[in-house]
Symmetry: C2
Subunit: 281 residues, 2 copies
């Protein structure tokens, strides 16, 4: 497995592989890899001749009061996990080369970025779309892999790829969970034991909503209320949002009809966790 | 010469040429071709195995009160000129396929788009950067050709290509002028005979400024005043802007030191003409 920092070296590697007609899979991450990332890597290794993993804690997707500086990092462990999972090349660029002095260009996906996480994390998805567009241009993959846990991010990327006519297939992979149901996230490492215990309520409330829908409850106000009641029964949980929206447009719906998305963002202390599920009749 | 309307057909053609290792040159235009466009095509034909010409009057770069609907079009003549000049394939997409229902993604180059034409044509460069990014992704060229007449557009594209790590070489070509000095533009066709005559003052005032700089006048206020005096001596000329800025950043300067850009936008009736020159000591 190769480790590359420089953009030009990365482009050279890709161009060489392209001239050999290798198919390229790409898994963009911010590192501190967990089983969720590994599942994306494994899918890519299965689908492609070459798998590129990027590890880049992207400053432009963090707000001024967010956790950029303390975002967890462990490059040595990441490299060892990536190697085991079959990655061919790790791209680990410097922020100073990704965003040099005078940098001025941003990709913005309008509308679907104003809901959910976009409403409370201003500029977050502009940072995500921009860095993913850059990484796509550098790594020029045939396929790119994203987790369904970041459902809104996935929709933003799909919209960007369609709109900008980018020739990359976006593959979404199911959320990977701990055995007790907590969705895997690099931010789980922030949780105290007590918070970790109470955080189980996220996945439990998703199950509750699915059950209610199965039993015929399709009213969004009622469903949201039931989920909210369950979550706020946990004394350490602070609701950022609990929303049921159209799964494609992320716009509000009043009834669960086709595919709806139940999306949660809940804080435990300073840690903000997200989770989601699709509700369908 | 081939004419293609559909994005997928265009991508297929490009992918076939790429697999043959053909080098691809790309000339994006809004059609109504003149000698300025032809000079770009000729340069591309010289530099590349294959030349793609796009003809697309891009709605997102026109403001609500601008000339989108009456922008001059003459596809038959364009095709004949393109064919003579050596174009291999003309890409002439439909606006409805470039911007389908639900379209939401825009590329914005900040800062350098707020000066000059960006100040009076709000959203113009966002539309330009977005469509060029899309066309680059569809046509995937090795080199793309732009005229220096649209100097700010050229700087916006260069900045976008650098910032988004797009692997395309941007080639800028000198402004082509009528024998009397008027910069070639599709919009020249709007001018009445009298306006056409008075519009010569644009290139004449650029010459004046160059002469003044050669004779030692480096003060931007004095230079701008001289140019302004000459232009406003034409009764039909209405100044949109007359500015001398840093040629890279397009930010104001007070002295001509390194490379400065003298840029003009002047209206004659409803027709807005631009021209520019580099001033250097």
């Amino acid at each position: 497995m190769k480790l590359v920092n420089s953009i030009s070296e990365m482009k050279e590697f890709v161009s060489e592989e392209k001239s050999k007609k290798s198919s390229i899979g790409f898994v963009p991450t911010m590192g501190f890899l967990h089983q969720g990332h590994i599942s994306l890597i494994e899918q890519s290794v299965k689908d492609n001749d070459i798998t590129i993993l990027s590890i880049f804690v992207n400053p432009t997707q963090f707000g001024p009061n967010e956790d950029l500086d303390k975002y967890p990092r462990n490059l040595d462990n990441d490299l060892s996990l990536a190697n085991q999972a079959g990655v061919d090349i790790v791209f680990h660029p410097y922020a100073s080369e990704m965003y040099p002095s005078g940098y001025a260009t941003f990709v913005n996906v309008e509308r679907i970025t104003s809901a959910l996480c976009g409403a409370t994390r201003e500029g977050h998805f502009k940072g995500v779309a921009t860095v993913v567009c850059k990484l796509f241009n550098i790594c020029n993959p045939d396929r790119a892999y994203f987790g369904q846990k970041d459902f809104q991010q996935l929709q933003v990327i799909k919209r960007m790829v369609d709109d900008l006519n980018i020739s990359i297939e976006i593959i979404d992979c199911p959320t990977v969970r701990e055995s007790d149901g907590l969705a895997m996230s690099s931010r789980n490492t922030y949780l105290s034991a007590e918070e970790r215990q109470q955080a189980l309520v996220l996945s439990q409330s998703l199950h509750l909503a699915k059950k209610l829908v199965d039993s015929g409850e399709l009213d969004v106000v009622n469903l949201t209320e039931s989920v909210s009641k369950m979550i706020t029964s946990m004394p350490l949980a602070k609701v950022d949002y609990i929303e049921i929206v159209d799964a494609m447009t992320l716009q509000p719906v009043s009834q669960v009809k086709h595919k709806a998305l139940l999306a949660l963002a809940i804080r435990f202390g300073n840690t903000r966790l997200i989770d989601n599920t699709i509700l369908e009749v």
